[in-house]
């Protein structure tokens, strides 16, 4: 059942983004921001993450106030992220993950941002040190040892839009990722993500 849900989410994401491309005059790169930042929980896991956000829908609300216009932009973004983390104190908690899903982001006139991301498509691969597998009396050394997990994630965050700068914004997210099946259950893990967004195409 889970496979069907994942396939549906993936295909609907593709079809929605395809529809949007038809309706827009902006190029893919105009609507895509890349991001790079720290990911980890400061104590046990520290690493880097790289990602991209593609603007799918945008709605601007303008309210007239006494002090001037208040402009709030709501965006729906298709996002993807690839991250690596390691515990430098031990060799037993290193891994790579990748997540894909949707981000909702709101930006105020002053550029302050809040966001929420839901990434139902997620994969986590742990990397293990020297590993030996025992089957009966046979002991064999495992090549490229590690384990794979389905790893959806959810995050909430704050950010700041940096208009007219090469680094177009910065963000701070608190991320909750699950790894399943992990030891006959589902392991939650919490991490922080702090980094910068940039657009590789110069804006007019």
């Amino acid at each position: 059942m889970r496979k069907y849900i994942l396939a549906h989410l993936f295909l609907s994401t593709l079809s929605l983004s395809a529809q949007d491309e038809v309706n827009t005059t902006s190029s893919f790169l105009d609507k895509t921001e890349f991001k790079i930042g720290y990911t980890g929980n400061l104590i046990w896991n520290n690493g880097l993450s790289f990602g991209a956000e593609y603007l799918w829908k945008e709605k601007v609300k303008i309210k007239e106030k006494k002090r001037g216009q208040k402009r709030t932009t709501h965006q729906l973004l298709l996002d993807g992220i690839l991250g690596f983390t390691n515990n430098f104190s031990t060799k037993t908690d290193a891994g790579m993950f990748t997540n894909y899903g949707l981000t909702w982001r709101s930006t105020t006139t002053k550029g302050k941002q809040i966001s929420m991301s839901f990434n139902p498509l997620g994969y986590y691969r742990s990397f293990l040190p020297e590993t030996y597998e025992v089957k009966g009396d046979e002991v064999t050394k495992v090549l490229f040892p590690g384990r794979s997990y389905y790893a959806p994630s959810f995050s909430i965050g704050l950010g700041k839009l940096r208009k007219g700068k090469k680094l177009t914004g910065r963000y701070f997210n608190i991320n909750l990722m699950y790894r399943t099946p992990y030891n006959a259950g589902t392991l939650p893990s919490i991490s922080f993500q702090y980094g910068y967004r940039f657009n590789i195409k110069k804006k007019k």
Binding site: N41, I43, W44, N45, N87, S89, T90, K91, T92, D93, S126, L128, P129, E130, T131, Y132, E133, V134, D137, V139, K141, V142, P145, R147, Y149, P181, Y182, N183, A184, G185, L187, P188, S189, I190
Partner: protein
Amino acid sequence: MQKIEFHKLKIVLFALVVLSVSSCSKDDDLGDLSNLNDTIILRHKNADMPAYIHGNGSEKVFLITLHGGPGGMGLSFRGTAFNSIENTFALVYFDQRGSGMAQGNYSENGITIDIMAEDVLALVKVIKQKYGSDSRFFLLGHSWGGTLGIATLLKDQQEFLGWIQVDGTPNPRDLYLEYIANFERVAAEQIDIGNSIPFWELVNDLLLDVDPEFNRDDIPRLNNRAFEAEEKLNNDNLINMPNGGRNDLVFKYNLVTFFWTLINTQSKLDPGIQGVLSYTDRLPEINIPSLILWGKHDMVVPTVIAQETYDNLGSSVKRLVIFEKSGHAPFGSEPNLFADKVILFIDQNK
């Protein structure tokens, strides 16, 4: 010109061959056995379990340690006592299935004491593969690790030259009743001599409140109160302040992962153990040299179980040592004496 290029290419190829050969032979190069600091993973029955190997392996004598819990941390043993043992022998700190940083993908039936005992025997095979078939083994289990150690030996004790039981019961089935009897006895003694009277009166209240027969819901209440009782006994100078713990342990284990794993593992294992499992009748089958180490004031696994274990073991070489100023963890409260007893035992039986 082409000749020179070809010559360079030959040098590069030769260098690559030399590097490949040297990297292939690295597995066999065990390095300095007298100062081991290795982390290896045992993959067995859909679980990947870390074994942290430290200490002096020059004699290839390995002491495999089984932590408490279930769901504890292998490296939690490290401290004054075990560091001292590491100077003489190699210590294997093992994160059991569903514990510490062990990970895997198995069903709820994939974590039982039987499978965990098989994991320990599989670990022996891995250590032999890595360090040589002439490696020799001793097994030490603390608390829950004591129960698991007995389960392991009952499957196969041939690989082990000796067994060290530290404050662990072979009989979790009757531990509930032992808690109650021990609390009644110690509370009466402590009130009699005027130590921490309000606390021991609370203990008596708890005893009136819990089910007099085995009740799974009351176990956590008794267990938590047992740890609190040891704190009181420590305040009243009956138990030495535990020392020499690893202050960097918090960086070795992701505590979110650790606690989640602990709760998850206990919820799956405990129903098949507490109030159910007993190896007391099978203790006579264990005939390797055995050393029973126990804290006199152990409130978590009461001291009466030490004598019962000693009496029932089938070993012709066996010894019971009671640590006068200790509770559930004598390696923390009397580390030097603890290390001396373990080193002497291994020396005599290696």
